[in-house]
Point group: C2
Chain length 332, copies 2
C-alpha cells in the first residue's frame, strides 16, 4: 500500500484525497518508481476541475505529470533501466492512464529520463514540463537565435522562467511581462532583460520602444483571452505568437494586428513534443540536460509542501502568488 492522491469528483483543491492504494507490479513497458518529489503544474488544477482538454476517469482518478525518484521495479520489455536508477518523469502520457502524485507510481518507461548527477530530487521534479514546453516553443517552433527578442507573458510561471533561461542560453533577449511591479525584481534576477508590468504600462508601446519599433520576433503567451490582440501587435510583421495556455477565460478572437499584416499564430501543447515527436523529445532532452549540467538552465523552486498537504499546495498553485515551481516532497 502506498499513499496516493486521488479525486472522486471534479472541483476545487479540496476534492484531492490522500489515500492508501495498492500499486501492484509494473506491466509490459512500465516502471514502478519510489517517488521523492512531485512537480505541480496548472494543467493538473485544470484536470482536477474538469477544465482540461481531456477528462479524468471517475469514480477515482489519479493526477500528476511530474515526479522524481528511484526505480524500484521494471516491467517486461523495458531496456535501459534497472532498480535503483534515479529517474524523473516527462509528461509523455495522459493523466487518466498514468499519474505521479503518490509515494509509489507506475509510469511508461518511455516517460522516464535519467536524473543528472548533482541535481537533487526536488529540482529534478521541476524540470521536464517547464523546460520541454519552453524548448518546444522557443527552439523547435520559434527557432530563435542570438539577438532575437522574445516576449514572455506570465513570466513568473515555471514555463515563463524556463523560457527566460533558454532565451539567455541562446543569446536572445527575453522581455518578461507580469501584471504589477511586485515581481519585477525577481524577474530581473531570474534573467529577464526587461520587465513590463502590464497593468501599469502599455505593452505595445514599451515593446516597440525596446525593439526599435519593429516588435519581437517571438511571443509566447499563456494568458490568451481578449488580450491576445495586444500581444500579437507586439510581434514584428511575419513574426510568431505561440499560445500555450488560456489563463484568461474571456473569448479569444483570432487576433489580427492593427496594420493588416500577418503574424504566425500557433497553439502549442507540450505533448506535441513529448508524445508525438520522439526526435524532438530526444533533442529536447539533450538540450535541457546540457543546460542543467552547465547551470545555465536551473529550475526556480518557489516553495515545497509535504505530499499530505496537497490540498494546500493546489490552493497556493491557483493563487498566482508564486514565482517558479511548487513541489510536493515525499517522506519515506
Amino acid at each position: 500500500m502506498a499513499k496516493t492522491v486521488r479525486f472522486h469528483e471534479l472541483g476545487g483543491p479540496e476534492v484531492l484525497k490522500v489515500e492508501e492504494v495498492e500499486i501492484g507490479e509494473p506491466g509490459k513497458g512500465e516502471l514502478r518508481i519510489r517517488v521523492d518529489a512531485i512537480g505541480l503544474n496548472r494543467a493538473e488544477a485544470l484536470f482536477r476541475a474538469g477544465f482540461y482538454f481531456y477528462q479524468p476517469t471517475l469514480p477515482a482518478s489519479g493526477i500528476g505529470y511530474e515526479a522524481s525518484g528511484t526505480v524500484d521495479a521494471v516491467g517486461d520489455g523495458v531496456d535501459g533501466f534497472v532498480p535503483g536508477d534515479a529517474v524523473s518523469t516527462i509528461p509523455a502520457f495522459y493523466m487518466n492512464e498514468y499519474a505521479t502524485y503518490g509515494e509509489q507510481v507506475i509510469v511508461p518507461a518511455a516517460a522516464a529520463v535519467r536524473r543528472q548527477e548533482g541535481i537533487d530530487a526536488v529540482t529534478s521534479a521541476a524540470v521536464w514540463i517547464a523546460y520541454t514546453t519552453a524548448y518546444g516553443m522557443l527552439v523547435e517552433i520559434g527557432q530563435i537565435g542570438a539577438g532575437d527578442t522574445v516576449l514572455i507573458t506570465a513570466a513568473s510561471s515555471s514555463v515563463g522562467l524556463a523560457a527566460i533561461q533558454i532565451a539567455n542560453h541562446l543569446g536572445a533577449i527575453p522581455i518578461a511581462t507580469t501584471r504589477t511591479s511586485d515581481k519585477k525584481q525577481q524577474l530581473l534576477q531570474a534573467g529577464a532583460a526587461h520587465v513590463i508590468a502590464t497593468e501599469e504600462e502599455d505593452l505595445v508601446t514599451r515593446v516597440r520602444a525596446l525593439t526599435g519599433d519593429g516588435g519581437v520576433e517571438l511571443a509566447v503567451d499563456a494568458i490568451g483571452g481578449a488580450g491576445v490582440h495586444t500581444v500579437v501587435s507586439s510581434v514584428v510583421r511575419g513574426g510568431t505568437l505561440v499560445l500555450y495556455g488560456a489563463l484568461d477565460p474571456s473569448p479569444m478572437p483570432l487576433p489580427f494586428a492593427d496594420d493588416g499584416r500577418g503574424r504566425n499564430i500557433r497553439w502549442y501543447y507540450f505533448a506535441e513534443l513529448t508524445l508525438d515527436q520522439p526526435q524532438q523529445l530526444r533533442r529536447a532532452e539533450l538540450f535541457i540536460n546540457a543546460g542543467l549540467r552547465s547551470g545555465s538552465l536551473s529550475p526556480v523552486i518557489d516553495r515545497t509542501f509535504d505530499l499530505d498537504d496537497v490540498v494546500e499546495a493546489h490552493r497556493y498553485l491557483e493563487s498566482n502568488a508564486q514565482v517558479g515551481k511548487i513541489v510536493l516532497t515525499v517522506r519515506h
Copy 2:
C-alpha cells in the same frame, strides 16, 4: 479628360459613377497608362462599401488595383519603362492613393510589370492579385512541395483557381471546396484533384479520407467565420492554415483543433508581398511569368463587362455566381 470610376459615398455597387476627370501628368516615380482592361477584386467591393481595412478618401475616391494597358507617359526618375510599353499593374499601392478603374490612370512605376508576349490585355489584367496572393500563401508561407495536399476553400474565386494551378504546377494535390455541387465540374476541369461540396458533405470526414486520416499540409481559406474550426481540423498536426479573407462575417474564434494539438495559423494580406517584401515580389514575378509562358498558369476569365457597366459588374462580383475573374474592358 478620361472616363474614370469614382464614388462619393460608401455603399452598394450603385455608388460607382463613371465621370470625366482630368488625369494630368505622372509625377516623380510614376507612370501614366492608357488602359485596355481592368481586373475586379472583392477587395474593391469591400473598399467601396467601407469594409476594407483602410478607408477611401471622400468626397471623391478612385478605386481599383489591377489594369493592363500601354504606358503613355513616364514621370521623372523612372527607369525601365518608355511610352508604348505594354504593362500590367500589381497591387503595390493603396487605393486611396492610386486607382486603376479608368481609361487613363497614373500608378507608381514600382507597381508596373511588363506584359508577357502573347498574353492578351484581358488575361493580363487578371493575373497579379490572384497569382501573387496564391503564390505568397502556397510557396512563400506554405512552402508546399510535390505530394503535399492543399485544401482550397471558395475555390472558384480567382485566387482559389490560381491556387489550384500553382499546386498542380508544383506537383501538389489541390482539394477544392465549393458550397454546392453546381460548380463541381468546372472546378475539376480547372485542375482540382478533388472537390468537396461543403453544404452536402462533411468537410473533415472527406479530407481525412482523401489524406489517409492525417489531413492536408496546407489549407488556404478566404471564408473565415465560425467555419474556421472545421477547416483547421482538416489540417494535419503541425500543418498550416492561411486565412486571407473573411467572406463569412460571423465571429471568428481562434480555432483549436479537436485533438488539442497545434496548427500554424497565419493571416495573409497580399500587400505583405507586393508592398513589404521586394525580394518575394521579384520571386513571385519570375515564378508567375514562367507559368504564364508555359501555360501551366492561365487565369480563368468568367466574364467581361464594358467600363461603362461597372455598376452591373460589381453586382455580379458580389453574386458569387462566377468561376474565375470578372474583367472590365475599355473601348478606345
